[in-house]
Symmetry: C2
Subunit: 178 residues, 2 copies
DNA sequence: ATCAATGCAAATAATTTGCAAAAAG
DNA sequence: CTTTTTGCAAATTATTTGCATTGAT
């Protein structure tokens, strides 16, 4: 996508981009990285961990701990809630999954940071849909601001709560129902 | 501060600004707004609510529910934890205090949104100090990005986790210990 | 064999809530 | 007086943890 746009002479720097879903090979490669991460820490690859990891990297969807438990149990019914909660910190520590808090009473996990380490979220207040996007201009501005204030950015999270313009015009959100 | 900079010909749009603490009169006016908010909802101004509200708008510091309880009890020892937890949603609903989640297991409340509705936070990983700043360029970029993606911004939160450059050079964080 | 990892069930901790008594208007 | 608000203590809920057992290497 980037190559195509560049060949067309489009100025990508000025474009905010909705991020593409990770491809299956990308997800498989990310899973492999996580297995290596476990190996480096001399952690064992149990059948339960394998079920959890397979689940996490089989989707580009956000998920909660409870959803992960449910999905992982479809692959291996012996997976317990405790093991899910013990595995999630390993996933976030590896940097391949990010933990997010959108003000609900549960955490949300995002497996798309491996491919898009600086992406951000717009949450539609009408349909609760979450759109992921990245913007190089935004990254640059954050670096500039932080530098002027005497800091160096290590990570950042921007969440924009928004309404669909469609909703206001037509009275219904085009994203509704997904 | 803004006027001074403008008279000097400084381009404020390009400057990220660390926000100034709210002045005592500003805080008093904000408290008044909240009392009006209670009145509009036909809610009673009890001695406990008065102690809580006096506490909240006597500072520009962030606080937790537990801290608010402790501080409010210094003004009125009859304030209970339940009343604090029942009053916090009123404060956030009024828009004069914002609830924030920085990944800890408790919420943090910020009374500075009345004066600076779009401000953001840089958290120093070395000393945990939180710096509040605002940037019109950032606001403009967020609006532009949202618009291109078909949304209209309603609110936003940007948190930058950063390290002090001072820390890296000198090995100690100049903000440490506050 | 050895030691990490598991499931279970109990523990934690922030926040919420039912209820009878107290207080605001 | 009437209705809201309170404190208390019990409940809730996501997450964490102790421990005896199981399983990976």
């Amino acid at each position: 996508m980037v190559d195509k746009a560049q060949s067309l002479g489009i100025d990508l720097i000025s474009l905010p981009l909705i991020i593409e879903p990770m491809s299956e090979p990308d997800r498989a490669a990310t899973k492999e990285k996580f297995l290596q991460f476990l190996d480096q820490k001399n952690l064992r690859i149990t059948s339960q961990r394998r079920a959890i990891v397979d689940t996490v990297f089989s989707t580009d969807q956000h998920f909660t701990a409870e959803q992960l438990l449910e999905w992982a149990r479809e692959k291996d019914s012996s997976v317990s809630r405790a093991t899910v909660y013990r595995t999630l910190p390993l996933l976030t520590e590896s940097g391949l999954v990010h933990e997010m808090d959108f003000g609900k009473d549960y955490k949300i996990y995002d497996p798309n940071y491996a491919a898009h380490p600086n992406h951000n979220h717009i949450i539609c207040n009408d349909c609760d849909k979450i759109v992921e996007f990245e913007s190089e201009r935004l990254d640059a501005l954050e670096n500039e601001i932080s530098g002027k204030l005497g800091f160096e950015v290590q990570s950042q999270q921007l969440t924009i709560n928004a309404s669909c313009e469609e909703m206001k015009r037509v009275g219904a959100c085009k994203n509704k129902g997904e």
